[in-house]
Every structure is written in C-alpha cells, then in structure tokens.
C-alpha cells in the first residue's frame, strides 16, 4: 500500500512528538534530569506567572495586528492583480510573488536590521531632508515590519486566488445596478471572496504568532513573545517541561483561533 509510509511517518514523527509534548508538560526536573511524572507544578508555575500572561498578550496582539495590517495592505494589491491587469501581467506578478519563498527569511531580517537601525538606510535617507533619526529597530514597529514582510507575499497570493474565483458577472451586475465602485468592492467582492480572505488572514496570524525571528532581531526580544520564551527556556537548560507548557498554550490558542476563523469563513451569508 502506498498510503502507509506517509501515515506511519507522520504518526511516528509528527503526531507522536506533539502528544509527547503533552506528557512532557507533566514531568518534573530533579537535579537537572527530567523524570516521568504526573505533576501539575509546571502548569501552575507558568500559568500563575505574570510574565507569561504579559508575553501571551503581546504575542496575541502582535499576531492580530500583523494579520489585520497585512490583509489591509495586501487587499488593494490582490484586487488590482485579480481585476485590473492583463492575464500576462497577472501570471508574471504571481511568479514574482513566489520568489520570496525561496529566499532566506533570516537574511531578509538581517537586511531589514540594516534598513531600520538608527544609522540605517531609512534614517540616513530621512537625514537628507533634515528629519531626525526615528527609532525603529528594537520596537514593536520593527517587529511588525518583519512580520508583514514575512506574511505579505503569501497573503497577497491567497487573496488573489480567492478573488480570481469571484463571479465576474456579479460585479458587472452590481455596476449595472448603479452600485458605486467602493460599494461594489465592499458589498459584492469582499463577501464573495470571504472564505479566501479569512483563510489568508488566518495564515498571517499563525505565521506571526509562532515567529521568533522578527520579535527577537527586529523587536529586540524584550519584552519577550511566547516563541522567544520557548527558545529561551529550551536553551537555558533542562526546563523543557515548562517550555512544553508554553508550547501547548500556543497550540491551544492557535486551534481555537483557527476554529473560530473557519466557522466565521463558512458561516451562512446574511444573518
């Protein structure tokens, strides 16, 4: 059977490690050794800590901001690509938007550091016009720039594909019925492409929620996000059970958000 290798591989090396994470979160650490246990101490320690909830809030906020911002920036572009350009230009643009997936995100972030730093490209450019250096690196703004860079190509592509499926006759009909331009976009195009738009935003949320590179190297890592917390805890020794608790909280959040988003996407139109 051809189906079995994939099934076995994903059971053994994907599902099982994730389930193992659940077990791990109940283990205890004694003398720098992890011991199998059924102990709620890790959960208690993490969930009663202020720092964890601060990080949780920050991460959720950043991911939401990134999803909303990326969707808003991407939509006019996707709209233009889907509706306003010739087929050849469309194909060419889609091809160009795939290129970033083959470039290293790390290198891009490093490059962004050079753009955003105090003595960096953007501030030097502003300096020509006598505008003082603006602090961008190691701020939330820096983090957001990185996250949008990460998500934008994917979101534009997903939005473009969903807009391609919008029935052109509907748009024509709206125009014939004297529906205004903006109103057509908001009342006809956006609702018909809702599933794709929501899924695109969901992907942006998931990517931003789990990313630790932008918050660390563009946001300065302080205060930490949840993913920075996980890498810190894992790096600094044998407290993996606590890192597992943080990871499980992240997964729970992501599953909830994904579930709600998909519910919303497929909800019956109207009421």
């Amino acid at each position: 059977m051809l189906s079995l290798p994939l099934l076995i591989w994903q059971l053994a090396f994907f599902l099982f490690p994730l389930l193992f994470l659940v077990a791990l979160s109940f283990w205890t650490v004694r003398n720098f050794q992890m011991q199998p246990d059924l102990d709620f101490g890790n959960w208690e320690r993490i969930l009663t800590r202020r720092a964890f909830w601060d990080a949780y809030l920050l991460t959720a906020l950043l991911a939401t901001a990134s999803a909303v911002l990326t969707s808003l920036i991407a939509f006019p572009a996707a709209y233009a690509i889907s509706f306003k350009v010739s087929d050849r230009v469309k194909q060419w643009l889609i091809f160009v938007l795939i290129i970033p997936f083959f470039t290293s995100y790390l290198v891009r972030v490093y490059s962004l550091q050079v753009f955003l730093s105090d003595a960096g490209i953007i501030n030097a450019f502003l300096g020509f016009f006598g505008l003082g250096p603006i602090l961008m690196l190691n701020t939330l703004f820096g983090t957001l720039v990185g996250l949008v860079t990460l998500c934008l190509p994917l979101v534009v592509l997903l939005q473009t594909f969903s807009l391609n499926f919008v029935d052109r006759d509907l748009v024509e009909a709206a125009h014939n019925l004297r529906c205004g331009r903006l109103r057509t976009v908001l009342m006809v195009i956006v609702p018909s492409a809702r599933v794709g738009l929501v899924i695109a935003a969901l992907f942006a949320f998931i990517l931003s929620f789990g990313d630790f590179v932008s918050p660390l190297y563009l946001g300065g890592g302080n205060p930490p996000t949840l993913s920075i917390m996980i890498t810190d805890i894992t790096k600094s020794g044998q407290q993996w059970p606590r890192a597992a608790v943080v990871a499980l909280m992240m997964i729970t959040t992501l599953l909830t958000v994904a579930f709600l988003a998909i519910q919303f996407a497929y909800k019956e139109r109207g009421k």
């Binding site: 189906s3 920036i73 470039t103 050079v114 014939n176 331009r181």
Partner: protein
C-alpha cells in the same frame, strides 16, 4: 473589464502593487548590495565595492561544513518527502475510506504548526529515543515538514489526469503496480521533479527546527541564525551559540 473605469484609481492601485513589491523585495535586494559592500554594518553612503565577505565565507570551514550538512539533509529530505508525498497524493486521488479526513489532516497539517513548537516537540521526542543532535534528526524533522508540500504538488497534477487512463490500463491487463509504474508515475513525472526541488528548497531554508534538533551538525541556515545572534565575524566560537540540544542527553 467593467464599464466604468477610473484612471486615477487604477493608477493608484498599480502604484500600490509596485509599493508592495518594493517592500517585499527591498530586503532581498538589500542583502545582495550589502554583501558586496565593504562595511560591516552598512549605512548610507555605502562603502566601496568589495568581495571580502565572499572570500571570508569561502575560506570558513564552519560555513563549508554547514553547507555540506545542508546539501546532505536537503537531498535526503527531497527524496523521502517526495516518496511520502507521492504515496499520500495517490491515496487521496485513488481511494475513499473511513477516516480519510484524519489521514489528510495528519498529512497536511505540519506546516501550520509553529516551527518553535515543532522544534521543541522534535527535540524532546528525538532526544528521548537518542536520535537528537545528529543529521538524521534534521532529516526526520524536515521530512515531516516537507512531505505536505510534495503531496500538494503531486496531488494537483494527479487531479489533471484522465480517470479513464487507469481503468484503460487495467482493461489491458495491467495490474495495480504495472499501472502505477507505466501510467501514473510517467504522468506525474513533472510534478515529482517539482516536488523534489521544492522540498529541497524548503529544507535548505528551514532554520528553526534544524536549530533545535541539529546539535553540532548545524545546517547553513542555523549557522546564519548564529551569525545574526552573535553579530560577529563568521566562524568565531560557534560553540558559544549552540542551543541546549547540543548538550542534550
């Protein structure tokens, strides 16, 4: 397309697309420019043209070992992920069975799990079965993460196949394996090659999970992560930047 065009709005939309492209590609082009620039921390005005950084990288044994690790991992992952992905794609194309949704979810979900969590789960699990800190652990982890891409690409190709082809082959006396070998694999060949390349590219670029599980056998992106962390000249004291995985039991 539609009746009432407005030149101003269309121009603005085009400008917006251009702005998005600039935003996306400025860092990519920037990194090329900076790599040819003499300054360590580039700023305006740029320093002079220099290939010094390329020479440093070229002469750095750590970079080379990382490069070889990356290539080995990438090649193995491409083959494994494509084989797994082909099996998955064919299963989805050919069979209907109870629990197929679960099968598909299991097959396609890995890319949606944050890499940090994948990394931690892999590290904890693989160190438990004494497989962490080796090249094999990176291959296993990347196999999980890349096979969905291979599966999606091959599945897309299979959906373009005439379903009668398979039936015709059976009518002509081909058994299931013969049909697979002489009809389906040749038809899917372009997608199989695409899958090989894409999975290799994904593996080449993946740094987070590799960072968690690779230990001393760092791949190139993991080394880049180290450079980024240390902001030091490539090659100096890489051991200081290793995650705990190197020390794992």
């Amino acid at each position: 397309m539609t009746g009432n065009r407005n030149i101003v709005i269309e121009a603005l939309l085009r400008l917006h697309v251009l702005a998005c492209l600039i935003f996306i590609f400025a860092p990519i082009l920037g990194s090329f420019v900076f790599s040819l620039n003499s300054d360590r921390f580039p700023s305006l005005p740029l320093g002079h043209f220099s290939l010094e950084w390329y020479r440093l990288i070229w002469e750095d044994p750590f970079v080379w070992s990382g490069f070889f690790n990356t290539v080995i991992v990438g090649l193995c992952v491409a083959v494994i992920a494509t084989l797994l992905g082909f099996g998955g794609a064919y299963t989805d194309y050919r069979y209907k069975f109870v629990g197929k949704n679960v099968y598909l979810a299991l097959a396609l979900l890995p890319p949606t799990i944050p890499v940090v969590i994948m990394g931690l789960a892999m590290l904890a699990f693989l160190s438990r079965i004494n497989l962490s800190g080796s090249t094999i652990s990176v291959i296993i982890a990347h196999g999980v993460m890349c096979s969905p891409f291979a599966m999606a690409i091959i599945r897309l190709r299979l959906s373009q196949m005439d379903p009668d082809l398979e039936a015709a082959s059976w009518n002509l006396g081909g058994n299931e394996w013969a049909t697979l070998r002489h009809v389906i694999v040749p038809f899917a060949r372009p997608a199989i090659f695409a899958a090989l390349f894409i999975t290799m590219a994904v593996s080449f670029d993946e740094f987070a999970v590799a960072w968690f599980v690779s230990g001393l056998n760092e791949t190139l992106p993991v080394k880049i992560l180290g450079f980024l962390q240390g902001q030091v000249s490539p090659g100096s004291t890489p051991s200081a930047r290793l995650p705990s995985s190197a020390r794992s039991r």
